[in-house]
């Protein structure tokens, strides 16, 4: 199987396969929709494996199908794309398995699975496409999938929050599209590969960043993300860990880290926004008592951190950011799924009403602890190394003040993570009696915790992948390929 077919299959299996799910639902086979989803997403994940080795050796493939004048479907298989595809689909597979135990109580199963699969399909399309129009297209498919999923429980209040999320991300994305059009006006192309090394104007950059920041929930545009916590826990997990907020990060990495060039001033601006976002939301997380909102603010904070790494435009910073995407994906996915189990067991999201859960839910507690340690950046965990790389990348780029403040934020993270573990799992039990979750759910949580440990032990592998994906080297390769 060629690289091209392989990559196309990775995109089309979830994207087109998702259409089968409502058909199954209409055919009365509601029970089959869940396993089918697992199969589709899992297949997408397994198909990314054969791509890993070639890209590790520095391979890069690019082809494009012209559609209409300057609009063409261009696909690129490189380390960055494969890395994102692999991480996202792996986490999504686990979440889909978890859903089997979690979602069966509600009546709209086919719709749920349909949109989850479509969501992942959009993500796969996004990571492989390098035409700005198609980037936008998949970006919006993800947004509308997320709209339906956040409002899944259909409470009037929840729907309003879903609409809010959709409007904010759609608005940002449309502005971003406007920015793309300005870029097009300047250089006459929508191909990222052709835009490589060109500096873009400030207005276009501001517009594009509006889209990126709204999608990745960075501080002025972040409010939809904590509100999105009204969705089922699997969905929040999907949004935070695997797909949605990572889209903004990926978009930034794809467009700017080895593509278009931005001025140093703009770079400083982005760094400051990212730092402010990381710091402010860490403070917010400290005060929050709703477990899902606390985790959501933590995501906003970590996303800010990742942006710091990406926007440093240095080798170490870039590696740190990619590692961060992976480590945060596993750990935050695990945390949200733990939160889901806890919510199932205690019927509350308020942390002050929990306590002493470690006795009732030992596996969940351990998994939560491992994931929290990773997020907080405790040394042997992957989270630590990624943070370390980000900070050293910042220093390398000469942003010493920002690096210092970033360390302060990391301390805050440690503080609220430990506090939440303490409140939820230790101490006296304050609620009714609870039981451990359904086996399939607990297993998934355990696997995610295991993956967190595994990435820590085998850090060498993702590190290698990330360093291959690094912009500078890619740029060299690209000049070879494109000449």
């Amino acid at each position: 199987m060629g690289i091209q077919t392989n990559a196309l299959l990775v995109i089309s299996i979830p994207l087109l396969g998702s259409l089968l799910i409502p058909l199954l639902g209409w055919a009365g086979l509601k029970k089959a929709t869940g396993p089918l989803t697992v199969i589709l997403i899992g297949a997408a994940n397994i198909l990314t494996w054969p791509l890993l080795l070639p890209v590790l050796h520095g391979g890069m493939w690019h082809w494009s199908y012209g559609l209409y004048r300057w609009i063409s479907l261009s696909l690129t298989v490189d380390a960055l794309a494969v890395f994102m595809a692999f991480t996202a689909s792996l986490i999504a597979t686990l979440i889909a398995i978890y859903s089997l135990g979690y979602i069966e109580h509600t009546d709209d199963e086919p719709e749920y699975y349909f949109i989850v699969t479509l969501f992942l399909g959009a993500m796969m399309g996004l990571v492989f496409s390098t035409n700005l129009i198609f980037l936008y297209l998949f970006w919006e498919i993800a947004a509308l999938a997320c709209w339906r999923l956040i409002g899944y429980y259909r409470e009037p209040d929840y729907i309003w929050k879903a609409d809010k999320a959709f409007l904010v991300t759609f608005g940002g994305a449309v502005l971003m599209l406007f920015g793309f059009v300005l870029v097009f006006l300047q250089y006459g192309t929508f191909e990222i590969t052709e835009l490589r090394g060109h500096e873009i104007g400030t207005v276009a950059l501001v517009l594009i960043m509006a889209g990126v920041f709204s999608k990745s929930a960075t501080v002025p545009l972040h409010t939809w993300l904590p509100d999105a916590g009204v969705a089922p826990s699997t969905i929040t997990s999907l949004l935070h860990a695997a797909i949605l907020v990572k889209i903004g990060l990926y978009g930034f990495a794809r467009m700017f880290c080895n593509g278009m060039v931005i001025s140093p001033r703009a770079q400083t601006g982005i760094l400051i926004i990212a730092l402010a976002s990381a710091f402010i939301s860490a403070c917010a997380a400290l005060k929050e008592t709703n477990i899902k909102r606390m985790l959501a603010y933590s995501t906003v904070s970590q996303i800010g951190y990742t942006f710091l790494g990406l926007a440093a435009f240095t080798h170490n910073g870039y590696i740190g950011a990619l590692l961060y995407i992976m480590a945060h994906g596993f750990a935050k996915g695990g945390l949200f799924l733990c939160a889901g189990i806890i919510e199932h067991g205690t019927h509350t999201k308020d942390m002050t009403k929990m306590g002493g859960l470690i006795k009732k839910m030992p596996i969940t507690a351990i998994a939560y602890a491992i994931c929290a340690l990773s997020i907080a950046g405790i040394p042997p965990m992957a989270g630590f190394f990624s943070k370390w790389f980000v900070i050293s990348g910042l220093v390398e780029g000469g942003h010493k003040v920002i690096a210092t403040l970033a360390i302060l934020t990391a301390v805050l993270t440690l503080f609220y993570m430990m506090k939440s573990f303490h409140v939820v799992f230790l101490g006296e039990s304050r609620g009714e009696s609870h039981a451990e979750g359904v086996p399939v759910m607990v297993t998934v949580v355990a696997i995610l915790a295991g993956l967190t440990i595994l990435t820590s032990i085998l850090l060498q592998l993702p590190y290698h992948l990330a360093s291959v994906a690094d912009g500078e080297r890619l740029l060299k390769l690209a000049t070879l390929v494109w000449r």
């Binding site: 209409y68 609009i71 936008y136 919006e140 009037p156 729907i159 449309v174 406007f178 059009v181």
Partner: protein, 481 residues
């Protein structure tokens, strides 16, 4: 092949004449007759796609008609939407009664619209415009309730003034150059040039702008539309909003100002200004409506604004976007009106505050409603996205950044108020009042599914649509430059 274009006029006429006898023979026979005619017309219009790049003329009873790229695009829109609306009305018209008359009037409306597109001079255009309008006045009043009749009267009175102005323009044109044929006029205008030499043409242009602008419901002339659309039966609202305002209004404006007149910059500026006002005013007023069909009606005004802006910018990209938006708006706005009709059919209300959670009871209506919403807001991969993208790109290329930004902003706004509809009507907890309502009947559901599929497929395969029908039409308009 070209001679079969006669069928665009003959088929609906003959079917309309046969309708009373068909309904005497049996209800189903009338249904079949009208559906077959509609399907035939749609297939016929699609058959001509390969000939989009050429102008083909044909004779009917000695009269000259012609189809060029521009007419063909509109023919496809008219006949496709008409077929879906006919399909929809088969089950829908049950509670209105007068089935045969309804079908006959609808067919005559199609005849009129096709005639507008095939006509080769200004006066024939006017005559067919009246055929379509007179049928639509009666169809708006079809429920014979107070609201229907009063909005039909309002529509009629304003239209009469509009067509009166148009006729004045025609007589001035004839007075000035002794011809009213399109081609002849085009030749005369290009030989003498427009502007200081003949201000009469500009006066006539103003009259046409007002007259056809009224038919297109551009903002200062829009007063009839928000009344006429809600009180008409749903398939008629869909036809009015999807097709009639475009053919009677936008097509005539395009034909006159971008084809006959060599697109003088003053007129394009007026297009631009009116378009912006329509876009903004329509969207803002729509936001405050609680009647679902009124909201859709105002949003039609807003979308017509987009089309006008595209025409007013006047570079190939924007014109292509505008023409594509004509196609797209016909599809998704008809779809949305049919959705609202299905809701009204089952719940008997149009007030969006009384609905809620209907999605769980009306699956097809709910799902197709989402398609319509996303299309109109310009969310990819639906078709509305591409046309808006083209118009915005045209504006940016022309250096009109503010206008481009306004369009972008109002597409967010559009999504905002359509999400409001979604939230109050479909999404959300089921209002217990509607616990035992059912999905709309078969043909209604089918029509909605077809339209939704068109919205999605023409978005995914936009390049084929653009290349096969939109580009020839745009080339025709840009040919003079």
């Amino acid at each position: 092949m070209q001679q079969s274009m006669r069928l665009f006029l003959i088929l609906p006429l003959v079917a309309a004449i046969l309708m009373p006898w068909a309904s005497k023979l049996g209800r189903r026979i009338a249904d079949v007759l009208v559906a077959v005619t509609g399907l035939g017309l749609m297939v016929l219009s699609l058959c001509f796609i390969p000939y989009a790049g050429t102008t083909s003329t044909f004779q009917l009873f000695g009269a000259q008609f012609a189809v060029d790229g521009l007419s063909l695009l509109f023919l496809i829109v008219v006949n496709a939407v008409a077929f879906f609306c006919i399909l929809y009305s088969i089950d829908y018209i049950d509670h209105y009664g007068g089935r045969a008359k309804f079908y006959a009037l609808m067919l005559l409306m199609i005849l009129g619209l096709n005639g507008i597109l095939l006509a080769q001079d200004l006066f024939s255009l006017y005559v067919y415009l009246e055929v379509a309008s007179i049928s639509s006045y009666v169809l708006v009043a079809y429920n014979l309730k107070f609201d229907g009749i009063e909005s039909a009267l309002k529509y009629l009175l304003l239209s009469v003034v509009g067509t009166g102005l148009t006729l004045m323009g025609i007589s001035l044109i004839y007075l000035n150059c002794g011809t009213i044929g399109f081609e002849a006029l085009k030749a005369v205008l290009s030989s003498i040039g427009i502007g200081a030499a003949s201000p009469v043409f500009l006066l006539a242009a103003g009259l046409f702008m007002a007259g056809f602008g009224l038919k297109a419901a551009i903002v200062p002339f829009h007063a009839w539309l928000p009344d006429a659309h809600p009180s008409a039966p749903a398939p008629i609202s869909a036809m009015l909003s999807g097709v009639v305002i475009k053919v009677a209004g936008v097509y005539s404006l395009i034909r006159i100002f971008l084809y006959i007149y060599p697109a003088p910059s003053q007129i394009l500026k007026i297009f631009l200004v009116l378009g912006i006002i329509s876009m903004i005013a329509g969207a803002i007023i729509a936001y405050f409506q609680s009647d679902i069909k009124r909201m859709l009606a105002y949003s039609s005004i807003s979308q017509i604004g987009y089309i006008l802006i595209g025409l007013g910018i006047g570079n190939p990209l924007a014109i292509m976007g505008a023409l594509f938006h004509v196609f797209n708006h016909a599809m998704f706005k008809s779809l949305l009106f049919l959705n609202s009709g299905a809701i009204q059919y089952r719940t008997g209300t149009r007030n969006i505050n009384e609905m809620g959670g209907l999605e769980s009871r009306m699956r097809v209506t709910g799902a197709t409603g989402i398609f319509g919403t996303l299309s109109i807001a310009g969310v990819p991969p639906f078709n509305g996205f591409w046309s808006k993208l083209f118009i915005v790109m045209g504006a940016v290329v022309a250096g009109k950044y503010v206008i481009a930004f306004l369009m972008v902003f109002f597409s967010i706004f559009t999504l905002g108020y359509f999400l409001l509809i979604q939230r109050r009507v479909f999404f959300g907890k089921l209002n217990m009042k509607w616990a035992d309502i059912k999905e709309a009947p078969l043909t209604m559901s089918l029509a909605m599914i077809f339209l939704a599929a068109t919205c999605l497929l023409s978005g995914i395969f936009f390049s084929q649509v653009v290349q096969s029908v939109i580009e020839p039409a745009a080339n025709l308009l840009m040919g003079g430059k």
